[in-house]
């Protein structure tokens, strides 16, 4: 137990350091930008017609004149007190904006994450078990096709087929347009989330399936599977008792490593479906040079990714009897 606590504490420390690095790197990148937030958001003509004082006020609001080092330290101090600053575009606290957006995105992300994980594991295991035969070829072909398809184009295609052509599903947004917020039903929300979630699930499968396939194929060629066959075990029982159990460990890693991919994909997919989630907010913040918001989103998504890695490391101990026993032996 003590060993596990130490392990967790060490990982947490490393995670905090990495997050510090992420925030510093993204801050530097945004500060280095030659894009003038005043030009992009207020516009050349409007700026020209303003008085000197007004321009100065705006410059202060967008934080153009303060030295970067001072701004970063100020930002960091506030963050440690739980204040991520105020979004310049939405004029709301960053945490509030992120909270609202994340509430919209979280079901989308979660559904896509689980579906792609389960489907990827099943397809990968099947391909590995039938290595070289037609199910394997089919699944490998599918993976190659999907991993070569940009997520946003797949989203456009699905939109074309299901919304424009067949007219089954709405074209975009997360709720029907022009309907009072109180009148929106759960079914409405679900109908709007189907296509984005479907796109994300389809694209997420490829990587997990290919890696699981490799592992499964290795297992099926191992000595213990040969011995199990010689003992007369059925193919089914070999798959379930030797194959899947040995594939489970890398599957856990893959599943948690795919969080970053799902979030990245959601940026593109939400943009296509005008889905008001975290990804869309990131694009808006980036295009509008909204430094506090983009910084907040980057840090929080990275925290989710690192948290996923940590969870995978901890689950390893629970899933793998070898690690469990070694930890107990100390």
């Amino acid at each position: 137990m003590k060993h596990r606590l130490q392990f967790t504490a060490k990982k947490l420390l490393r995670m905090a350091l990495l997050l510090l690095g992420v925030s510093f790197a993204s801050f530097l990148l945004m500060c280095a930008s030659p894009l003038d937030p005043l030009q992009t958001n207020v516009g050349q003509t409007a700026l020209g017609s303003m008085s000197r004082e007004q321009v100065e006020k705006l410059e202060e609001y967008w934080g153009v004149d303060a030295p970067p080092a001072e701004r970063y330290l100020g930002w960091l101090k506030d963050v440690l007190h739980g204040d991520f600053g105020v979004s310049l575009l939405y004029r709301q606290p960053v945490l509030e904006v992120i909270g609202q957006r994340l509430a919209n995105s979280v079901w989308l992300l979660l559904a896509a994450w689980i579906i792609s994980g389960v489907l990827g594991l099943a397809l990968g295991a099947a391909a590995g078990a039938f290595r070289g035969r037609w199910p394997d070829r089919l699944i490998r072909g599918y993976c190659l096709l999907i991993s070569s398809t940009p997520a946003f184009w797949l989203a456009i295609l699905l939109l074309l087929v299901f919304s424009v052509w067949l007219g089954w599903l709405p074209v975009g947004l997360s709720v029907p347009a022009g309907v009072d917020a109180a009148a929106v039903t759960l079914a409405d929300r679900l109908r709007h989330a189907v296509l984005p979630a479907l796109t994300l699930s389809i694209t997420g499968v490829a990587n997990i399936a290919l890696h699981t396939r490799e592992k499964m194929a290795d297992v099926m060629e191992s000595d213990y599977v040969l011995f199990a066959r010689a003992r007369g075990e059925s193919e089914r029982s070999i798959l379930l008792r030797h194959g899947l159990r040995n594939v489970a460990l890398p599957a856990v890693t893959l599943q948690f490593a795919s969080i970053s991919e799902v979030i990245g994909g959601s940026v593109l997919v939400e943009q296509v479906f005008s889905y008001p989630g975290l990804g869309q907010a990131a694009v808006t913040a980036g295009l509008g040079s909204d430094l506090p918001l983009l910084l907040g989103i980057t840090v929080i998504t990275s925290a989710i990714v690192f948290g996923g890695n940590l969870a995978a490391d901890l689950l390893y101990g629970a899933v793998d009897p070898k690690i469990r026993r070694r930890a107990a032996g100390r």
């Binding site: 790197a25 930008s33 070569s148 074309l160 943009q271």
Partner: protein
């Protein structure tokens, strides 16, 4: 047994044939795209919104621009950017991966930390951030894609070099007094190079896809350039009015190009990897 041998010879030959064919196709697309760039920008309001026909295979858009020419120009641009960024990121990966393995514990810790850092930010966000730092546009895309794709290859190279350093034949060569440079040239390079090359080619698909993605989001190439990302983001405005060909064909062409690159890399890996070269 003899039948199998026959088969393997054919497979090696067919792989080489495939490699040549794929390279020729990709080169042809690149060159034709450069030549057609002018035509892709040409507007002609007497032929707007034409459905794909024999004369305009991919149709025309709302400004009467030939979508086939635009698509080819966009693909060509994507391939050139993909080549550039893949070479830069593979180079970075080689240098950092080797440095981590060779320069001692501290350098290793720093570089591994950087790898974790870059991998912790979702890819597309990182490309966006770097692109913003470079003021978007061509420079933004190239910097963004090349500076975000090196970590995984760097990790592979680091592992390989670490393993090689303690391999018996390298240790034996050291004991025999072979100079460091000779060890690197004669013993290490032949082992690392094939992995590095295939790693680089397998970076192309990712690089091209990410270039198209950030351009689509508006952080990449400017909207005057006929890039695939620009074409697709413009097509979004005309989807609901049923102009399906604006999105379908350019995207399909992009997917085919990426698949070709991915297969090229995969086949090359199988050919260069001693474990599978004679299958």
């Amino acid at each position: 047994m003899r039948g199998e041998k026959q088969y393997s010879e054919n497979r090696r030959q067919s792989t080489i044939l495939f490699l040549i064919a794929a390279a020729v196709i990709l080169a042809a697309v690149t060159v034709s795209g450069i030549l057609l760039e002018e035509r892709g920008m040409e507007t002609d309001f007497s032929r707007t919104n034409l459905i794909p026909s024999v004369q305009y295979l991919f149709g025309t858009d709302w400004m009467g621009r030939d979508m086939l020419a635009r698509t080819l120009a966009g693909l060509s641009l994507s391939i050139r950017i993909g080549l550039l960024t893949a070479v830069v990121s593979a180079g970075t990966a080689l240098v950092l991966g080797t440095a981590a393995a060779v320069l001692g514990k501290k350098a290793d810790a720093v570089i591994s930390w950087c790898i974790d850092l870059v991998m912790g930010i979702p890819h597309i966000l990182l490309v966006m951030l770097i692109s913003i730092a470079c003021g978007r546009g061509f420079a933004g895309v190239v910097a963004g894609v090349s500076l975000s794709h090196w970590p995984s290859l760097a990790r592979v190279i680091r592992g390989e070099v670490l393993q090689l350093k303690s391999a018996p034949y390298i240790l034996a060569a050291e004991k025999l007094g072979v100079s460091r440079f000779d060890i690197i040239r004669r013993h290490m390079a032949p082992h690392i190079l094939p992995q590095f090359l295939t790693g680089m080619i397998l970076l192309f698909p990712h690089a091209i896809l990410h270039e198209a993605s950030v351009t689509f989001l508006g952080f990449g190439l400017s909207s005057e350039q006929p890039a695939i990302g620009v074409i697709l983001s413009e097509s979004m405005r005309y989807l609901t009015t049923g102009k399906w060909w604006l999105a379908l064909f350019p995207g399909l062409a992009l997917v085919l190009t990426v698949i070709l690159f991915a297969m090229l890399g995969e086949r090359l890996r199988r050919l260069l990897d001693p474990a599978s070269a004679h299958e």
